[in-house]
Amino acid sequence: MPLPTFGTRFGGAFLGRKQAPGVTRVPSGELSERALGVAMLAPMVLVLLLVVAYPLADSLWLSLHRVNLANPEQGQPFVGLGNYLHAFRQPAFWYSVHRTLYFTLLSVALELALGLLFAVLLNERFRGNLGARVAMIFPWALLTVSNGVLWAWILNPTYGMANALLVGLGVLQTPKAWLSDTFWTMHVVILADAWKMVPTMTLLLLAGLQPIAPDLYEAAEVDGATRWQKFSRITLPLLRPVILVAVVLRTIGAFRVFDLIYVLTGNGGPANSTKVIAFYAYDQAFHYLFFGYGAAISWLITVCMLVLIAIYMHWLRTEGER
């Protein structure tokens, strides 16, 4: 007989189910289980409303006004969709969208390719598999800011490890200032992001690989299938739902990138080459104090996220129906 737990009893009461026989009746004058449940949940619901629902609604309202905290004399006039239209007319806004898409596409592609490779390798039985899996987790467990600081040290032009290694191997004649080159800065940021996020991708894909029945591979071997054929005809099709989920989740994460770029470049430089849209929104709201405009940019980012989430939900539903 299962032990009565807080969750089942409380949940039953909260959902208005009939009270099970044998449960002690609440003495008159005390709160019923249901009322107590509501009372106990109320603070959490209130906190969620205060810290999630209210700021969301307030920022939407803010985005419809011209708000410059540094110039209170101009008031906070209602401008409707003016802030959104202003954004669409700004080359800097579109440039940040371009930089965001570039970062997102490349980082997710790199993370997917490496994640798939590592997941397939870790799915094989070999000595030290467990150790390899544990080692894989380390970059993921690191804080993003720590990851940024770590890469800043690695890439330091004077005493960084990357230059020491490349000059030592003869790949470079002289040390390179990686973060002062518009081409290289974006790509080393992508590399640093991939280093941290590949484990996430690997774990998701590994979870998708493990339920694939070995019989399928054995049958393919009997039919004379090559390794590539087994991978492309069995592994990839069966892994498709997990790949879709992983790609959408990582796309959402990559689209919001801010902290890594902040730590590595400080200002979205050089020459704004890493000024992604989250950085653009941060500058407008917290650096220039254009809170209305900053809120509008944040909502544009949120809408992009909602579109990605809708795609994700649609895929999940489609795969579930198969």
Binding site: N71, D181, A271
Partner: protein, 431 residues
């Protein structure tokens, strides 16, 4: 297997009630505590101060103030990077600060927003006589004083005397032409004549302004607030910076991704001859435990131009009284005490702050304790105050971006400066 039951000595209902009551009490206590500002229960006057004494090294100064005036100071200490957000939150109703530490470039924004009090009428003769106008300029907007400088700060030339001597130079460069010559003489494989903080940041703008104002007639904005820097010294200064990188090849390309902190650390490797930086470099740079360059790092005035002895940027920080403060008098007493010789001299001795009082630069005790103290005092005479504009942050970002594009050889200095001026003039309307 039969059901196992255990009677807890504390029923769930009782437990939840206890937790609920405790949380409520804690919340109520917190709320009450946050409301309790003003004089303490014993009647002692209080000032709430937000500043960045992160090492708490100036605690004895605060204690001295309390001892001298009987006013207690409640300190909130945050890093520089968090301070602006903290102040912005406070003025929107998120804090009860009376005095805040204000960066030079925030003065106009805070004044325009009405966040800080106009202190012009409070300025005493003692302060006027001993604090130079350029020092007070850091906290002046439209002719009104909005704060009191906490310490003096400027960029100086920090050089490796050993590397200069090895290259045949027995004195640091006094002019930019000499700077180039000495940087050329000290650049060789594994060693650079100069290193700069030219990452796309405020540091880059500071160096550009320092170089720009070595030219007679240099100007940033005209009397109508229109950008004129592109035709009045800015382009020539930027051309000089580009030349150091690509023509003379005496500036380490790592300059383009370095901050002042990076420059300070890299000077300690002993492989750089000449650097620009804020004061405070010498103690670490000449400590053999931390620096390979010890004890050869010295300080000098930033090089000047043909008719200008030197030019540097004012980087002072100040204290301002928030307009929302309910303890104006106590807050002003704190500012007044901070500007007194008692605070300024002790701050120099215990924290290495450079005094705002001109008279202290001839103080024998300070000369004894601080290496090359007179040079700092001299440099503070040649300061440029960055433009006091309410939207300075936005305009500075525009210029930084164009400066960096030229330094990366994406556009010519002339194109960069004209584009920057045009964009600065257009960036007037609020989105």
């Amino acid at each position: 297997m039969g059901a196992v039951t255990q009677q807890s000595p504390l029923s769930r209902r009782t437990f939840l009630r206890v937790v609920g009551n405790a949380s409520g009490a804690a919340l109520a206590s917190g709320l009450l505590d946050s409301c309790s500002s003003g004089p303490t229960a014993s009647g002692t006057p209080v000032v709430n101060l937000l500043w960045s004494d992160v090492t708490n090294i100036r605690a004895p100064l605060i204690a001295d103030f309390t001892h001298a005036t009987g006013i207690k100071v409640n300190q909130t200490i945050v890093q520089y990077n968090q301070r602006l957000n903290k102040i912005q939150t406070a003025v929107q109703g998120g804090g009860d600060f009376d005095v805040v530490q204000m960066d030079t470039v925030w003065t106009a924004r805070f004044a325009m927003a009405g966040w800080v009090q106009d202190l012009t009428s409070r300025l005493t003769d003692a302060i006027k006589q001993d604090v130079s106008p350029v020092t007070l300029g850091a906290v002046t907007y439209n002719g009104k004083l909005y704060g009191m400088p906490l310490f003096n700060s400027a960029k100086h030339l920090f050089y490796n005397a050993k590397l200069l001597k090895e290259a045949g130079f027995d004195h640091p460069p006094a002019t930019l032409d000499e700077f180039v010559a000495q940087a050329q003489g000290t650049t060789k494989p594994g060693q650079w004549g100069s290193l700069w903080a030219w990452k796309q940041s405020e540091a880059l703008l500071c160096d550009w302004l320092s170089l720009m104002f070595t030219q007679p007639g240099a100007q940033f904005l005209d009397s109508h607030g229109k950008a004129v820097f592109h035709t009045m010294g800015g382009t020539e200064a930027l051309q000089g910076m580009v030349d150091l990188l690509y023509h003379h090849k005496v500036a380490d390309p790592a300059s383009l991704e370095s901050t002042e902190d990076d420059v300070r650390k890299m000077l300690q490797t002993g492989t750089y001859a000449l650097t620009y930086n804020w004061e405070g470099v010498l103690p670490e740079a000449n400590d053999p435990q931390q620096s390979k360059a010890a004890p050869h790092i010295r300080v000098a005035l930033l090089p000047g131009g043909r008719d200008i002895k030197s030019s540097s940027v004012n980087g002072a920080e100040s204290w301002a009284i928030l307009a929302q403060s309910r303890r104006h008098e106590a807050a002003w007493k704190l500012l007044e005490y901070m500007a007194s010789p008692a605070w300024q001299k002790k701050a120099a001795l215990i924290a290495g702050d450079y005094p705002i009082l001109a008279s202290l630069y001839s103080d024998p005790e300070l000369h004894k304790h601080v290496q090359d103290f007179a040079i700092y005092g001299e440099q503070f005479k040649y300061l440029v105050v960055r433009p006091q504009l309410p939207d300075y942050a936005r305009k500075s970002d525009i210029i930084q971006r164009h400066l960096h594009a030229a330094l990366l050889h994406k556009v010519s200095p002339k194109e960069a400066m004209h584009a920057a001026a045009s964009e600065v003039d257009r960036a007037t309307a609020t989105p």
